[in-house]
């Protein structure tokens, strides 16, 4: 058996991400044949096999980041295989406990470990782990070592779920949670609480009694990798949430006038132009006007500078069929188009988005976005800003509601319009003035032609 380890790639490099296995368990591999690929910062490297034989065990899955010298695989001898010469690079792999990735590790609580002593006295009753014992656990992060010291944990009692069976912070926390559950209530108060102390003195179910999520998936669950597009959407959404100070303000818009205009011209419009007339171009038109009046909403942040975009390019969020994703094609110079032109652009972009015929120019350069969740029945939602923009307008469903006008009840078509804005740049008063402008244009639609 030859251990294959995460190689040392340079002095400053302490870990690497295993990006790809080039061989499967059971495959025959020659010495020096590329075996896996790793990624460290800006460098991708192919790592050759240190020995010839059969790849018997893969201990670290693709996508896992592990410390250097972690054993990532084992190569077994096979009949007829040339005896592998010991490779200098793998001369001294630290013994790492073999993880059991398939066989689910029993939850820590199943076999309650000795509870930590009530006070974190350094001279503890717990069996002292020698430095060698700790070393035998393989590479440990400084955080894990620190936690072990602070909470006086015998790390040998902690089952590691990290790459190569490494003990992670989560493992230690889970161990602590388990210990606390087992510890007598009196001792509980004395044990330093790792989890944030609850402010309420007695939360009804003690959190410690909640079992940790099982690592192994239940048999009825299905695990599948995200599509590339889903991955990008996930990254993009998190990136936006981390970047902007999201605030959503909601305004009620009386759409009765627009509903009437649309109803009156719908048939003729469709006959004349060959596509239907929706509410979206009216709202886009109103938003473009309001963006012209409030350029800060049509801006981006660049370090400590504000970029006021000269063009008003409005992105329209389009849901792709089957929940496969979301795309935001852009209507360029939306302020220069009338309702017909906007409707034509929307129809064209949405069709091309769904048939994947969009060009790069169609999806780039947006300065503001509109998302119409109302088309799926939502009343209002809090959309996520499309970076690097600073605001997004969300449209709720238009519904007939009773409203009080001059102390009489009337039936009006109403829409909740939500504006999510980046509070780093736009203050609430500004955002609300912007919304009031959009609302005023829609409620007093005066254009004779559409």
């Amino acid at each position: 058996m030859t251990d294959v380890v995460m190689p040392q790639m340079g002095e400053s490099i302490v870990e690497g991400t295993l990006t790809k296995w080039l061989k499967k368990p059971g495959d025959r591999v020659e010495r020096d044949e590329p075996l896996f690929e790793i990624s460290t910062d800006k460098v991708d490297s192919e790592i050759p096999s240190p020995a010839a034989g059969i790849l018997s065990e893969v201990l670290v899955q693709e996508g896992t980041t592990v410390a250097i010298n972690t054993v990532v695989a084992r190569i077994g001898d096979s009949a007829g295989a040339a005896a592998p010469a010991p490779q200098p690079a793998v001369a001294a792999p630290p013994p790492t406990p073999a993880p059991a990735p398939v066989q689910a590790a029993p939850p820590v609580q199943a076999a309650p470990p000795p509870p930590p002593p009530p006070a974190p006295a350094p001279v503890a009753a717990a069996p002292a782990a020698t430095a060698e014992d700790i070393d035998a656990l393989g590479p440990l992060s400084p955080l894990v070592r620190k936690m072990a010291r602070e909470y006086n944990i015998d790390l040998r009692q902690v089952s590691g779920t990290g790459g190569g069976g490494r003990i992670t912070k989560d493992d230690v926390e889970r161990y602590l949670a388990g210990s606390r559950a087992a510890a007598p209530a009196a001792a509980l108060a004395a044990v330093p609480t790792y989890a944030p102390a609850p402010t309420a003195p007695a939360p009804p179910p003690p959190p410690a009694s909640v079992p940790p999520p099982a690592r192994a998936e239940a048999p009825r669950n299905r695990v599948e990798p995200m599509s590339k597009m889903r991955e990008k959407i996930a990254e993009h959404m998190i990136f936006s949430k981390q970047t902007s100070a999201h605030v959503t303000t909601v305004h009620r818009v009386d759409m009765t006038k627009i509903v009437k205009i649309r109803a009156a011209s719908k048939k003729q419009f469709e006959e004349h132009y060959g596509f239907g007339l929706t509410f979206l171009p009216f709202i886009t038109r109103a938003a473009a006007e309001a963006l012209r009046a409030f350029p800060i909403v049509n801006a981006s942040i660049d370090g400590k500078n504000i970029i006021y975009h000269g063009d008003i390019n409005i992105g329209i969020a389009v849901a792709l069929d089957g929940g496969s994703g979301l795309i935001v094609p852009v209507i360029r110079n939306a302020d220069e188009k009338n309702v017909v032109g906007l409707q034509r652009s929307i129809v064209d972009l949405a069709a091309r988005a769904r048939s994947k015929q969009l060009k790069l120019d169609d999806v780039s350069g947006g300065t503001f976005s509109i998302t119409n969740f109302g088309s799926y029945g939502s009343i209002f939602a809090t959309p996520v800003i499309n970076q690097p923009q600073v605001a997004i307008l969300g449209l709720g469903a238009i519904e007939k509601v009773p409203v009080v006008i001059d102390d009489a009840i009337a039936i009006r078509s109403q829409m909740f319009m939500a504006l999510t804005f980046d509070h780093r740049l736009i203050d609430g008063a500004m955002a609300d003035q912007f919304c009031q402008k959009v609302k005023a244009i829609l409620e007093n639609w005066s254009e004779q032609v559409i």
């Binding site: 490099i13 460290t40 910062d41 800006k42 460098v43 991708d44 490297s45 935001v328 780039s364």
Partner: protein, 222 residues
């Protein structure tokens, strides 16, 4: 003693063609049949996705770009999404680091050093960002780096914006606005691209202690 390094300026060459040449040179370098190689090239518009490609704008999902007929290349270099195009100096060092230092971190820092030295020729103060490999001037990224390595033989390399149309970067990484990109031109340097190439080449010679042998540009094949 300086090590021999053969240098070729490929002029304008498609990404795939240049990649094929790199692979050829890498295997020859691994076999020890050629010395270190340095290629300079300018690519037509292309978006390349490194192995760690992430934070790409959702709109620039690879399937989508491909279906829209935009050149997209998935590559085996490290790093994120980037853009190459006219006005950009792309350099591919095919170095055997066993003959230098077996240290990829040191190699990245040395490539940065080369570019920082070259920028200094034009009065620009290039800097490193400890968080992000590349070369920065006043907080704007002027050169990107992404490397592949196989048995210590490097491929891929760096891209330095000389007078690149920076608008293309907006297409790829809209968060580029929070970390802006720059070119020598946008930083006020009007020196011709040739002078920049010479400065980078000289810096390579010094930083890596190379003796550069100029090879004639490849003859047009096909």
């Amino acid at each position: 003693m300086p090590r021999l390094c053969e240098f070729r300026d490929l002029g304008s060459l498609g990404y795939d063609e240049a990649y094929a040449l790199q692979r050829e040179l890498v295997s020859a370098r691994k076999a020890g049949s050629i010395p270190d190689q340095l290629l300079f090239v300018e690519h037509p518009h292309v978006v390349t996705l490194g192995r760690n490609a992430k934070l790409a704008h959702v709109l620039a999902a690879p399937e989508l770009l491909a279906s829209a007929g935009i050149a997209v290349a998935e590559t085996d270099r490290g790093g994120d999404v980037t853009y190459h195009g006219p006005g950009q100096l792309v350099g591919y060092p095919i170095f055997d680091l066993k003959d230098w230092h077996r240290d990829v971190g040191a190699y990245l820092r040395a490539i940065e050093e080369v570019l920082i030295d070259a920028l200094a020729t034009f009065g620009l103060h290039g800097e490193r960002d400890p968080e992000a490999t590349g070369v920065w001037v006043n907080g704007a990224k002027v050169a990107a780096i992404g490397i592949h390595m196989s048995r210590w033989v490097t491929s891929h390399g760096f891209a330095l914006n000389i007078d690149t149309d920076l608008n293309y970067f907006r297409y790829i990484v809209p968060c580029g606005l929070t970390k802006p990109v720059a070119s020598l031109r946008s930083l006020g340097v009007t020196a011709p691209a040739d002078a920049v190439r010479r400065a980078v080449l000289t810096a390579f010679e010094e930083v890596f202690d190379l003796e550069i042998a100029h090879l004639a540009q490849l003859t047009e094949q096909q």
